[in-house]
Protein backbone atom coordinates (compact mmCIF):
# COMPACT_ATOMS: atom_id res chain seq x y z
CA UNK A 1 0.00 0.00 0.00
CA UNK A 2 2.21 2.80 1.17
CA UNK A 3 5.00 3.72 3.50
CA UNK A 4 5.45 7.40 2.71
CA UNK A 5 2.83 9.80 1.46
CA UNK A 6 1.83 9.10 -2.12
CA UNK A 7 0.76 12.69 -2.83
CA UNK A 8 1.82 16.31 -2.52
CA UNK A 9 0.14 17.83 0.51
CA UNK A 10 -0.06 21.36 -0.83
CA UNK A 11 -1.39 20.25 -4.19
CA UNK A 12 -4.02 18.15 -2.43
CA UNK A 13 -5.02 21.17 -0.35
CA UNK A 14 -5.27 23.23 -3.50
CA UNK A 15 -7.62 20.69 -5.02
CA UNK A 16 -9.67 20.45 -1.84
CA UNK A 17 -9.94 24.24 -1.89
CA UNK A 18 -11.30 24.03 -5.41
CA UNK A 19 -13.92 21.51 -4.33
CA UNK A 20 -15.18 23.90 -1.64
CA UNK A 21 -14.78 26.70 -4.16
CA UNK A 22 -17.03 24.90 -6.59
CA UNK A 23 -19.59 23.28 -4.27
CA UNK A 24 -19.61 25.44 -1.19
CA UNK A 25 -19.46 23.77 2.19
CA UNK A 26 -22.44 21.52 2.72
CA UNK A 27 -22.48 20.15 -0.83
CA UNK A 28 -18.76 19.46 -0.77
CA UNK A 29 -19.19 15.90 0.51
CA UNK A 30 -16.30 13.79 1.68
CA UNK A 31 -16.77 11.65 -1.43
CA UNK A 32 -16.43 14.73 -3.64
CA UNK A 33 -13.36 15.79 -1.68
CA UNK A 34 -11.72 12.39 -2.01
CA UNK A 35 -12.57 12.32 -5.71
CA UNK A 36 -11.34 15.88 -6.27
CA UNK A 37 -8.09 15.36 -4.42
CA UNK A 38 -7.46 11.77 -5.45
CA UNK A 39 -6.85 10.91 -1.81
CA UNK A 40 -8.50 8.16 0.18
CA UNK A 41 -10.57 8.95 3.24
CA UNK A 42 -7.79 7.90 5.58
CA UNK A 43 -5.23 10.11 3.88
CA UNK A 44 -7.63 13.03 3.85
CA UNK A 45 -8.50 12.75 7.55
CA UNK A 46 -4.97 11.85 8.58
CA UNK A 47 -3.45 14.82 6.79
CA UNK A 48 -6.03 17.59 7.18
CA UNK A 49 -8.38 16.55 9.98
CA UNK A 50 -12.14 16.65 9.69
CA UNK A 51 -14.20 18.48 7.10
CA UNK A 52 -14.51 21.69 9.08
CA UNK A 53 -10.75 21.86 9.62
CA UNK A 54 -10.11 21.12 5.96
CA UNK A 55 -12.42 23.96 5.01
CA UNK A 56 -10.57 26.38 7.25
CA UNK A 57 -7.23 25.26 5.82
CA UNK A 58 -8.70 25.76 2.35
CA UNK A 59 -9.66 29.30 3.32
CA UNK A 60 -6.10 29.94 4.48
CA UNK A 61 -4.82 28.43 1.24
CA UNK A 62 -7.09 30.79 -0.67
CA UNK A 63 -5.87 33.82 1.25
CA UNK A 64 -2.27 32.74 0.81
CA UNK A 65 -2.73 32.59 -2.96
CA UNK A 66 -4.96 35.54 -3.73
CA UNK A 67 -4.43 38.00 -0.93
CA UNK A 68 -1.06 39.11 -2.37
CA UNK A 69 -2.68 39.73 -5.74
CA UNK A 70 -5.37 41.91 -4.22
CA UNK A 71 -2.83 43.61 -2.03
CA UNK A 72 -0.66 44.38 -5.02
CA UNK A 73 -3.59 45.77 -6.98
CA UNK A 74 -4.54 48.04 -4.11
CA UNK A 75 -1.13 49.11 -2.86
CA UNK A 76 0.01 51.04 -5.92
CA UNK A 77 -0.77 54.72 -6.46
CA UNK A 78 -4.22 55.33 -7.89
CA UNK A 79 -5.38 58.56 -9.53
CA UNK A 80 -8.93 58.22 -8.20
CA UNK A 81 -11.21 56.10 -6.02
CA UNK A 82 -12.75 54.71 -9.19
CA UNK A 83 -9.35 53.42 -10.25
CA UNK A 84 -9.06 51.56 -6.95
CA UNK A 85 -12.40 49.87 -7.51
CA UNK A 86 -11.51 49.02 -11.09
CA UNK A 87 -8.12 47.60 -10.11
CA UNK A 88 -9.61 45.45 -7.39
CA UNK A 89 -12.41 44.05 -9.49
CA UNK A 90 -10.00 43.39 -12.34
CA UNK A 91 -8.16 40.92 -10.13
CA UNK A 92 -11.48 39.22 -9.42
CA UNK A 93 -12.26 39.06 -13.14
CA UNK A 94 -8.83 37.65 -13.89
CA UNK A 95 -9.34 35.01 -11.24
CA UNK A 96 -12.70 34.07 -12.71
CA UNK A 97 -11.19 33.92 -16.19
CA UNK A 98 -8.47 31.52 -15.01
CA UNK A 99 -9.23 28.23 -16.77
CA UNK A 100 -7.41 26.21 -14.08
CA UNK A 101 -9.89 27.16 -11.34
CA UNK A 102 -13.65 26.59 -11.14
CA UNK A 103 -16.13 29.31 -12.06
CA UNK A 104 -17.75 31.24 -9.28
CA UNK A 105 -15.82 31.06 -6.04
CA UNK A 106 -18.20 30.29 -3.18
CA UNK A 107 -15.57 30.29 -0.46
CA UNK A 108 -16.32 33.74 0.85
CA UNK A 109 -20.07 33.48 0.50
CA UNK A 110 -20.14 30.18 2.32
CA UNK A 111 -20.60 31.80 5.69
CA UNK A 112 -23.83 33.32 4.53
CA UNK A 113 -25.17 30.63 2.24
CA UNK A 114 -24.28 27.44 4.03
CA UNK A 115 -25.57 27.29 7.58
CA UNK A 116 -24.01 23.85 8.02
CA UNK A 117 -20.64 25.53 8.53
CA UNK A 118 -19.66 25.70 12.18
CA UNK A 119 -19.04 28.87 14.16
CA UNK A 120 -15.29 28.72 13.77
CA UNK A 121 -15.44 28.49 9.99
CA UNK A 122 -18.05 31.21 9.85
CA UNK A 123 -15.92 33.52 11.95
CA UNK A 124 -12.99 32.96 9.63
CA UNK A 125 -15.01 33.81 6.52
CA UNK A 126 -16.44 36.84 8.24
CA UNK A 127 -12.94 37.97 9.20
CA UNK A 128 -11.84 37.67 5.59
CA UNK A 129 -14.80 39.75 4.44
CA UNK A 130 -14.17 42.39 7.07
CA UNK A 131 -10.47 42.44 6.22
CA UNK A 132 -11.26 42.96 2.57
CA UNK A 133 -13.62 45.78 3.43
CA UNK A 134 -10.97 47.49 5.54
CA UNK A 135 -8.33 46.98 2.86
CA UNK A 136 -10.57 48.61 0.28
CA UNK A 137 -11.40 51.53 2.55
CA UNK A 138 -7.76 52.23 3.18
CA UNK A 139 -6.89 52.13 -0.50
CA UNK A 140 -9.81 54.42 -1.32
CA UNK A 141 -8.71 56.91 1.29
CA UNK A 142 -5.22 56.82 -0.15
CA UNK A 143 -6.69 57.56 -3.56
CA UNK A 144 -8.27 60.76 -2.32
CA UNK A 145 -11.72 59.69 -1.16
CA UNK A 146 -13.09 61.21 2.02
CA UNK A 147 -14.27 59.02 4.87
CA UNK A 148 -17.84 58.74 3.68
CA UNK A 149 -16.89 58.03 0.08
CA UNK A 150 -14.37 55.42 1.12
CA UNK A 151 -16.82 53.58 3.37
CA UNK A 152 -19.52 53.69 0.75
CA UNK A 153 -17.42 52.58 -2.19
CA UNK A 154 -15.73 49.85 -0.18
CA UNK A 155 -19.13 48.45 0.70
CA UNK A 156 -20.32 48.67 -2.90
CA UNK A 157 -17.17 47.00 -4.18
CA UNK A 158 -17.67 44.23 -1.66
CA UNK A 159 -21.22 43.84 -2.93
CA UNK A 160 -20.01 43.75 -6.52
CA UNK A 161 -17.42 41.16 -5.61
CA UNK A 162 -20.15 38.92 -4.19
CA UNK A 163 -22.46 39.45 -7.13
CA UNK A 164 -19.68 38.54 -9.56
CA UNK A 165 -19.26 35.20 -7.82
CA UNK A 166 -23.00 34.54 -7.90
CA UNK A 167 -23.45 35.59 -11.51
CA UNK A 168 -20.40 33.65 -12.61
CA UNK A 169 -21.66 30.50 -10.95
CA UNK A 170 -25.05 31.15 -12.61
CA UNK A 171 -23.41 30.98 -16.00
CA UNK A 172 -23.37 34.64 -16.98
CA UNK A 173 -20.79 35.43 -19.64
CA UNK A 174 -17.44 36.99 -18.89
CA UNK A 175 -18.57 39.99 -20.91
CA UNK A 176 -21.53 40.45 -18.59
CA UNK A 177 -19.26 40.14 -15.58
CA UNK A 178 -16.88 42.72 -17.00
CA UNK A 179 -19.82 45.03 -17.62
CA UNK A 180 -20.91 44.75 -14.00
CA UNK A 181 -17.38 45.39 -12.75
CA UNK A 182 -16.94 48.39 -15.04
CA UNK A 183 -20.24 49.87 -13.91
CA UNK A 184 -19.24 49.47 -10.26
CA UNK A 185 -16.13 51.49 -10.98
CA UNK A 186 -18.32 54.28 -12.33
CA UNK A 187 -20.31 54.70 -9.13
CA UNK A 188 -19.77 58.30 -8.06
CA UNK A 189 -19.27 59.20 -4.42
CA UNK A 190 -22.16 60.83 -2.64
CA UNK A 191 -20.47 64.20 -3.03
CA UNK A 192 -20.79 63.91 -6.79
CA UNK A 193 -24.49 63.56 -7.60
CA UNK A 194 -25.61 62.94 -11.15
CA UNK A 195 -26.16 66.04 -13.24
Amino acid sequence: MAGRKQFDVDEALRRAMHVFWRWGYSEASIDRLTEGTGLGRSSLYGTFGDKSTLFRKSLQRYAQTYHPLYDQALSGPHPSPSAVVAAYLQVTLNRIADPTVPDGCLLTVSATQFPALDAEGRAMVRAMIDGLRAMLEQALLAAGADDQEAAELALCTLATNKSLAVLSRAGFSSEDLATVAAAAARIPGRRHPLP
Copy 2:
Protein backbone atom coordinates in the same frame (compact mmCIF):
# COMPACT_ATOMS: atom_id res chain seq x y z
CA MET B 1 -56.57 11.42 13.47
CA ALA B 2 -58.18 13.28 10.63
CA GLY B 3 -60.87 13.09 8.00
CA ARG B 4 -60.44 16.44 6.28
CA LYS B 5 -57.29 18.56 6.02
CA GLN B 6 -56.29 20.09 9.33
CA PHE B 7 -54.44 23.01 7.77
CA ASP B 8 -54.69 25.77 5.19
CA VAL B 9 -52.90 24.67 2.04
CA ASP B 10 -51.85 28.14 0.89
CA GLU B 11 -50.59 29.15 4.32
CA ALA B 12 -48.59 25.93 4.50
CA LEU B 13 -47.09 26.66 1.09
CA ARG B 14 -46.23 30.16 2.25
CA ARG B 15 -44.39 28.73 5.23
CA ALA B 16 -42.62 26.13 3.10
CA MET B 17 -41.56 28.95 0.77
CA HIS B 18 -40.05 30.74 3.75
CA VAL B 19 -38.09 27.64 4.71
CA PHE B 20 -36.52 27.47 1.24
CA TRP B 21 -36.15 31.24 1.41
CA ARG B 22 -34.18 30.97 4.62
CA TRP B 23 -32.19 27.78 4.04
CA GLY B 24 -31.90 27.44 0.29
CA TYR B 25 -32.63 24.09 -1.28
CA SER B 26 -30.22 21.47 -0.02
CA GLU B 27 -30.25 22.67 3.58
CA ALA B 28 -34.03 22.86 3.67
CA SER B 29 -34.44 19.33 4.96
CA ILE B 30 -37.79 17.59 5.16
CA ASP B 31 -37.58 17.86 8.92
CA ARG B 32 -37.13 21.63 8.66
CA LEU B 33 -40.03 21.81 6.22
CA THR B 34 -42.33 19.81 8.47
CA GLU B 35 -41.29 21.91 11.44
CA GLY B 36 -41.69 25.17 9.52
CA THR B 37 -45.08 24.29 8.13
CA GLY B 38 -46.40 22.37 11.12
CA LEU B 39 -47.42 19.54 8.80
CA GLY B 40 -46.55 15.88 9.13
CA ARG B 41 -44.53 14.13 6.48
CA SER B 42 -47.59 12.41 5.07
CA SER B 43 -49.53 15.65 4.76
CA LEU B 44 -46.56 17.39 3.17
CA TYR B 45 -45.99 14.68 0.57
CA GLY B 46 -49.67 14.06 0.00
CA THR B 47 -50.40 17.72 -0.61
CA PHE B 48 -47.34 19.03 -2.42
CA GLY B 49 -45.45 16.00 -3.72
CA ASP B 50 -41.74 15.49 -3.21
CA LYS B 51 -39.18 18.09 -2.18
CA SER B 52 -38.34 19.17 -5.71
CA THR B 53 -42.00 19.72 -6.56
CA LEU B 54 -42.56 21.61 -3.33
CA PHE B 55 -39.63 23.87 -4.18
CA ARG B 56 -41.09 24.65 -7.58
CA LYS B 57 -44.48 25.39 -6.05
CA SER B 58 -42.72 27.64 -3.56
CA LEU B 59 -41.10 29.50 -6.45
CA GLN B 60 -44.51 29.99 -8.04
CA ARG B 61 -45.88 31.15 -4.71
CA TYR B 62 -43.04 33.66 -4.52
CA ALA B 63 -43.72 34.97 -8.00
CA GLN B 64 -47.41 35.18 -7.28
CA THR B 65 -46.76 37.34 -4.22
CA TYR B 66 -43.91 39.58 -5.29
CA HIS B 67 -44.09 39.80 -9.04
CA PRO B 68 -47.06 42.21 -8.89
CA LEU B 69 -45.11 44.46 -6.51
CA TYR B 70 -42.13 44.61 -8.84
CA ASP B 71 -44.41 45.03 -11.81
CA GLN B 72 -46.16 47.92 -10.15
CA ALA B 73 -42.88 49.60 -9.24
CA LEU B 74 -41.67 49.32 -12.83
CA SER B 75 -44.86 50.05 -14.73
CA GLY B 76 -45.36 53.65 -13.65
CA PRO B 77 -43.78 56.60 -15.50
CA HIS B 78 -40.19 57.24 -14.49
CA PRO B 79 -38.27 60.45 -15.14
CA SER B 80 -34.97 58.64 -15.70
CA PRO B 81 -33.36 55.21 -15.86
CA SER B 82 -31.91 55.82 -12.42
CA ALA B 83 -35.42 56.22 -11.07
CA VAL B 84 -36.31 52.82 -12.48
CA VAL B 85 -33.38 51.21 -10.74
CA ALA B 86 -34.17 52.98 -7.49
CA ALA B 87 -37.83 52.01 -7.63
CA TYR B 88 -37.03 48.38 -8.28
CA LEU B 89 -34.43 48.08 -5.55
CA GLN B 90 -36.72 49.85 -3.12
CA VAL B 91 -39.20 46.99 -3.43
CA THR B 92 -36.35 44.59 -2.65
CA LEU B 93 -35.35 46.63 0.39
CA ASN B 94 -38.95 46.77 1.60
CA ARG B 95 -39.19 43.03 1.23
CA ILE B 96 -36.01 42.54 3.21
CA ALA B 97 -37.25 44.91 5.90
CA ASP B 98 -40.51 42.97 6.24
CA PRO B 99 -40.36 41.44 9.74
CA THR B 100 -42.74 38.62 8.75
CA VAL B 101 -40.33 37.08 6.24
CA PRO B 102 -36.79 35.77 6.76
CA ASP B 103 -33.73 37.87 5.99
CA GLY B 104 -31.94 37.24 2.74
CA CYS B 105 -34.09 35.47 0.18
CA LEU B 106 -32.13 32.60 -1.31
CA LEU B 107 -34.89 31.41 -3.65
CA THR B 108 -33.52 33.02 -6.77
CA VAL B 109 -29.89 32.28 -6.00
CA SER B 110 -30.64 28.63 -5.34
CA ALA B 111 -30.09 27.66 -8.94
CA THR B 112 -26.54 28.88 -8.72
CA GLN B 113 -25.64 28.03 -5.17
CA PHE B 114 -27.32 24.69 -4.62
CA PRO B 115 -26.32 22.07 -7.18
CA ALA B 116 -28.58 19.52 -5.47
CA LEU B 117 -31.54 21.15 -7.20
CA ASP B 118 -32.71 19.17 -10.22
CA ALA B 119 -32.76 20.44 -13.79
CA GLU B 120 -36.44 21.34 -13.73
CA GLY B 121 -36.11 23.51 -10.64
CA ARG B 122 -32.97 25.11 -12.02
CA ALA B 123 -34.69 25.95 -15.28
CA MET B 124 -37.52 27.59 -13.38
CA VAL B 125 -35.18 29.77 -11.34
CA ARG B 126 -33.26 30.67 -14.46
CA ALA B 127 -36.50 31.63 -16.19
CA MET B 128 -37.40 33.91 -13.30
CA ILE B 129 -34.00 35.59 -13.46
CA ASP B 130 -34.24 36.05 -17.21
CA GLY B 131 -37.79 37.38 -16.87
CA LEU B 132 -36.65 39.91 -14.31
CA ARG B 133 -33.83 40.99 -16.56
CA ALA B 134 -36.22 41.51 -19.48
CA MET B 135 -38.69 43.36 -17.30
CA LEU B 136 -35.99 45.72 -16.13
CA GLU B 137 -34.73 46.35 -19.64
CA GLN B 138 -38.19 47.22 -20.87
CA ALA B 139 -38.79 49.64 -18.01
CA LEU B 140 -35.42 51.27 -18.57
CA LEU B 141 -36.14 51.74 -22.26
CA ALA B 142 -39.47 53.30 -21.34
CA ALA B 143 -37.63 55.69 -19.03
CA GLY B 144 -35.53 56.98 -21.90
CA ALA B 145 -32.46 54.75 -21.86
CA ASP B 146 -31.02 53.63 -25.17
CA ASP B 147 -30.53 49.95 -25.93
CA GLN B 148 -27.03 49.72 -24.53
CA GLU B 149 -27.85 51.63 -21.38
CA ALA B 150 -30.94 49.54 -20.76
CA ALA B 151 -29.09 46.25 -21.16
CA GLU B 152 -26.24 47.43 -18.99
CA LEU B 153 -28.32 48.88 -16.18
CA ALA B 154 -30.68 45.91 -16.15
CA LEU B 155 -27.72 43.61 -15.69
CA CYS B 156 -26.24 45.77 -12.95
CA THR B 157 -29.57 45.98 -11.16
CA LEU B 158 -29.86 42.23 -11.34
CA ALA B 159 -26.38 41.99 -9.84
CA THR B 160 -27.31 44.41 -7.09
CA ASN B 161 -30.45 42.44 -6.37
CA LYS B 162 -28.35 39.31 -5.84
CA SER B 163 -25.76 41.06 -3.73
CA LEU B 164 -28.49 42.49 -1.50
CA ALA B 165 -29.74 38.97 -0.79
CA VAL B 166 -26.23 37.74 -0.01
CA LEU B 167 -25.30 40.71 2.16
CA SER B 168 -28.61 40.58 3.99
CA ARG B 169 -28.15 36.91 4.80
CA ALA B 170 -24.59 37.73 5.90
CA GLY B 171 -25.95 40.07 8.53
CA PHE B 172 -25.16 43.43 6.99
CA SER B 173 -27.31 46.23 8.37
CA SER B 174 -30.31 47.62 6.54
CA GLU B 175 -28.42 50.92 6.32
CA ASP B 176 -25.62 49.18 4.45
CA LEU B 177 -28.12 47.53 2.14
CA ALA B 178 -29.81 50.86 1.46
CA THR B 179 -26.40 52.37 0.70
CA VAL B 180 -25.66 49.67 -1.86
CA ALA B 181 -29.07 50.10 -3.47
CA ALA B 182 -28.71 53.88 -3.62
CA ALA B 183 -25.28 53.59 -5.17
CA ALA B 184 -26.60 51.21 -7.82
CA ALA B 185 -29.16 53.81 -8.77
CA ARG B 186 -26.35 56.32 -9.29
CA ILE B 187 -24.55 54.21 -11.89
CA PRO B 188 -24.39 56.35 -15.01
CA GLY B 189 -24.93 54.88 -18.45
CA ARG B 190 -21.88 54.38 -20.61
CA ARG B 191 -22.80 57.53 -22.52
CA HIS B 192 -22.21 59.58 -19.39
CA PRO B 193 -18.60 59.08 -18.32
CA LEU B 194 -17.34 60.49 -15.07
CA PRO B 195 -16.01 64.06 -15.22
